[in-house]
């Protein structure tokens, strides 16, 4: 059945026109999702998905009204699905059944998407290897000694292994782009505000953004178009429209792209080489490439960990054992209910960040850490908006290293987020794009970043590079 599960959304649509039913598509993907040798899924909603596929097969109206008609997808387990477990890979929410659907889920549903399951992740999105969760780590299908990337590792692996046609993830500091890179799929974190966060269980509200993981750039544009738009339930969502699929084939003639010296310099040799290759391709396709220096970028990582932990400490305070989620059984006082529920319900990495967040927000440390981090954030924002006056796209690594061995945890892994946190700190859109494999067969990727709400630039350059690279990879 791999003739189905290896297909892109575009190809599946064409197979549908040739008579392939939604049910057949769903069955093929559900089979992979249920086998799940990589621990990519926390919940597979096989029965519901089959019912939905059959219902779609009965629809006789114009399928063009449903750009994702009968397309099986998975959602990261921090995106609320009504009546379907949404655990954030935490013991705290191991039995949590949301009473409502996230806006993103509603959008995909009305576009015809078929939810086949909820994917594994780092607990509450905190991690870069999908190994901090309550349900065990996600395994990298290319090399099980290597990290699957995180925190949306389950979503990336599910897409890479044909266990869904596309997946939703969330990206707070690189959580869509990094696992996409480690698994050879396209990962896009759109501009902050592009996709409603209503129903995305918050990690760090000013940085969180739902993102899409797909087999190729075209699929990514197709899915993202369905997700964009103002949502009355999210005051930070934007009204800006997104015309993406249409822009793909416009080419990159005259587009101005720059590589950031500080990020290329810290990358390993193979990553540096793939950046050089991509730059050459861009020039060949009619774009211009220059090198720029943004020294402030080194401060991003520090600001990111301060701000994200601060917001997390507030966002995760609601898990107190009172209303929902894990509630410690042997409590005697209110204070023991709080202490025990939180001590037993959260894992080590989450606790580490909550402590860090409480520390940087405390009265005595606020100005030394939190306020300083906000100042850095503003500084970088204005620097990059200046940079984008003369540029369409930035080209840089997703991670300084192609991928890393499993087993590293905590602060040791934080530094690897240096290339991805920039887009979260500034709210800018970014894409990670496969560019072949290294000598060991491990996927390699590039990252593109564009100005606010200029996803078009990402998709034009991304599509052009993808086309140029085709044949050399898969």
């Amino acid at each position: 059945m791999s003739y189905i599960t290896k297909r892109t959304i575009t190809e599946l649509a064409s197979l549908q026109r040739d008579g392939l039913s939604c049910l057949e598509i769903a069955e093929a993907y559900i089979k992979n999702a249920q086998a799940d040798p990589y621990n990519a899924y926390i919940t597979v909603t096989g029965e519901q998905a089959l019912e939905r596929a059959m219902a779609l097969d009965r629809i006789r109206e114009d399928r063009k009204a449903f750009p994702l008609f009968g397309i099986p997808y998975a959602a990261k387990d921090n995106i609320c699905t009504k009546g379907i477990l949404t655990t954030c890979a935490s013991k705290m929410l191991a039995e949590h059944l949301p009473v409502y659907d996230a806006t993103a889920i509603r959008h995909i549903h009305s576009a015809g998407g078929v939810l086949i399951g909820k994917t594994n992740m780092d607990e509450f999105g905190m991690g870069s290897s999908s190994d901090t969760g309550y349900f065990g780590k996600v395994i990298n299908p290319f090399n099980e000694q290597r990290s699957a990337g995180g925190s949306s590792g389950g979503s990336a692996v599910a897409v890479a292994t044909g266990a869904c046609a596309f997946a939703l993830g969330s990206d707070t500091g690189g959580s869509v782009r990094l696992p996409a890179a480690f698994n050879g799929v396209v990962g896009v974190k759109p501009t902050y505000g592009r996709i409603s966060r209503y129903g995305l269980i918050a990690f760090a509200s000013s940085l969180d953004q739902i993102g899409v993981l797909t087999k190729d750039v075209t699929d990514s544009a197709t899915v993202l178009e369905q997700l964009c738009g103002k949502d009355a339930m999210d005051s930070t969502s934007s009204e800006q429209s997104a015309d993406l699929v249409h822009a793909l084939s416009q080419g990159i003639q005259g587009m101005r792209i720059a590589v950031i010296r500080e990020l290329t310099d810290i990358a390993d040799s193979q990553t540096r080489l793939s950046i050089t290759n991509a730059a050459a391709m861009i020039s060949k396709l009619g774009g211009t490439v220059e090198e720029i220096s943004v020294p402030e970028i080194s401060k991003c990582l520090w600001a990111y960990y301060v701000i994200s932990s601060a917001e997390a400490s507030s966002n995760l305070a609601r898990y107190d054992g009172v209303r929902y989620g894990y509630s410690a059984p042997d409590r005697t006082t209110l204070s023991s209910l709080y202490t025990k529920s939180r001590s037993e319900g959260f894992g080590t990495e989450v606790k580490r960040r909550l402590l860090l967040g409480g520390y940087v927000l405390s009265a005595e440390n606020r100005s030394a850490y939190y306020l300083k981090a906000l100042a850095i954030r503003n500084e970088i924002k204005s620097t990059l908006s200046r940079v984008f006056k003369d540029l369409d796209c930035l080209l840089c690594p997703v991670s300084p290293n192609i991928s890393w061995e499993c087993g590293f945890q905590g602060a040791d892994t934080y530094k690897n987020d240096i290339c991805t946190v920039i887009a979260n700190i500034t709210g800018l859109p970014a894409m990670s794009l496969p560019c072949g494999t290294d000598s060991n067969g491990v996927p390699m990727e590039l990252q593109l970043m564009a100005n606010s709400f200029n996803e078009q630039a990402l998709y034009r350059v991304g599509y052009a590079l993808e086309q140029a690279l085709k044949g050399g990879t898969r």
Partner: protein, 477 residues
């Protein structure tokens, strides 16, 4: 012991006022008070994972109105912040409030106590959400989230208040302004107006402020007054005994009339404030504020001035204007009659005596009250009948003129009739008359009282007195 010779108090009040918008501040749930527990709740106001707040613009406008009516500056840019603390009635474990960029700043209200007007500064007014309520049962505690997310404003006064009575005056004025604006019910028994009191004491003549204590969650004007008085004495006594006042949070015990320690400064929460990332900063245009300003109703101070201009004495004008209900009633009077002074006296005298508590209604129509006052002015009834009519007609729709005629309450102005009554009274008061003749001048009152009684209270008191004096030949009394 009375310390007020030697010490003076400095008081600042933080007043929480619930706004009576239809829906809550960050979701669409009803704000209705008194519904069954947890019936006006949704995923947003119970802080379910993944939910986000969206601001109810009506709450923002109400808060701006409160600022305008208390002479505040309205911020052109404002934002919300999170105040983080754990408590079961706070489902997100943070309250969305405003920290360093409050909506309204630098206002004041004028407060009249004992005929003296003092200006009490308002440092800031900010907008926030209310928490739920713990309901303690016999063997468990329940949580009612209906109140969770009801919009609140917190009005922070400057420490300009110098006495417990002034604190009461400030609160009454603030409440009155909110009622005039129609933005809150300000019902203390329902918790829609609550108050924290900050109080410090210093020696008279000293310029430095003493250490202050905060008394939390007061919900009655009279308890606030008592708590301030108690706390003033407590702090003075500490100083007198050579002790020091510590910065503490205290609670007032209604049963004992004392304040008790809740927590010391060391135990105080660190609220870890930071900007609320889920609500973008708000720009408030000058045009929007102007539109709201144009729509402001006439406020108590303005009403009071207009009453004084009508010839009503200042204390009555204050009494009438300080209740929106009474004042609205009096506006109807003004529209219907030219001589309002008599009605004002009747209103602040007999009518106020008839009212049972703040929420009671005047059970006489403005027309009835005007008619009663007019009859007194015209001499148709005397002043004591005028007063009696208020209670006699209370709750009826009887025409006062008809009532006066039907019940023979018309004042007797006829000199011959009055003379006849006086003669009869003299005859029936032989003892008093001989006392009077014997030099006991107070006996005159007994005789006059007798005559008034014989007229069934209807005699014109001035004429009756004159007749009596003529008959007794006692002009010098």
């Amino acid at each position: 012991m009375n310390y007020s010779e030697k010490y003076e108090m400095t008081v600042g009040l933080e007043t929480h006022i619930e706004l009576k918008t239809q829906s809550k501040i960050f979701c669409g749930c009803s704000t209705k008070f008194g519904d069954a527990p947890n019936t006006n709740i949704c995923p947003v106001c119970t802080g379910m994972p993944g939910t986000l707040p969206t601001l109810n613009r009506a709450a923002l406008d109400y808060a701006i109105l409160a600022g305008l009516a208390t002479n505040c500056k309205i911020a052109s840019l404002t934002k919300f912040d999170r105040k983080n603390y754990f408590y079961p009635d706070l489902p997100k474990a943070y309250q969305i409030s405003q920290y360093d960029m409050p909506l309204c700043t630098d206002g004041y209200i004028d407060v009249e106590t004992d005929g003296e007007i003092s200006r009490i500064g308002i440092e800031r007014i900010h907008l926030e959400e209310d928490a739920g309520k713990l309901v303690h049962e016999k063997d468990c505690t329940g949580i009612d989230y209906n109140r969770c997310g009801v919009p609140l404003i917190e009005v922070v006064s400057r420490p300009d208040i110098k006495s417990a009575e002034q604190a009461r005056g400030y609160l009454q004025k603030l409440r009155c302004i909110m009622l005039y604006l129609g933005i809150s019910d300000c019902k203390m028994n329902e918790g829609s107006l609550r108050c924290d009191v900050n109080i410090s004491v210093r020696k008279k003549g000293s310029t430095a402020l003493g250490e202050r204590c905060e008394i939390k969650n007061m919900n009655s004007f009279s308890f606030i007054v008592k708590a301030i008085q108690y706390e003033f004495d407590r702090q003075c006594e500490l100083y007198e005994r050579g002790g020091t006042v510590l910065p503490e949070t205290r609670r007032y015990d209604q049963a004992t009339g004392r304040t008790e320690l809740m927590r010391t400064k060391e135990q105080a929460n660190d609220y870890r404030y930071f900007p609320e990332p889920d609500i973008p900063p708000l720009e408030i245009s000058i045009e929007h504020v102007s539109r709201l300003k144009e729509g402001l109703p006439i406020l108590p101070d303005e009403r009071k001035s207009s009453y004084i201009a009508l010839g009503i004495k200042s204390s009555s004008a204050e009494m009438i204007a300080s209740s929106k209900y009474i004042s609205d009633y009096f506006q109807a009077v003004i529209e219907r009659c030219s001589d309002c002074e008599g009605v004002a006296n009747l209103l602040t005298g007999e009518v106020f005596r008839m009212l049972q508590g703040d929420d009671d209604e005047i059970r006489l129509s403005p027309d009835q009250l005007i008619c009663i006052a007019q009859m007194a002015n015209e001499g148709i009834i005397n002043r004591s009948t005028e007063k009696k009519l208020v209670s006699l007609l209370w709750g009826t729709d009887t025409d006062p003129r008809k009532y006066v005629t039907d019940n023979s309450l018309v004042q007797i102005n006829d000199i011959d009739t009055l003379k006849g009554i006086c003669e009869k009274a003299i005859m029936q008061s032989q003892k008093a008359v001989s006392d009077l003749r014997g030099g006991k001048l107070t006996a005159y009152k007994a005789i006059l009282g007798k005559a008034m009684g014989l007229s069934h209270g209807n005699a014109n008191p001035v004429l009756l007195d004159q007749c009596m004096k003529d008959l007794l030949g006692t002009d010098d009394i």
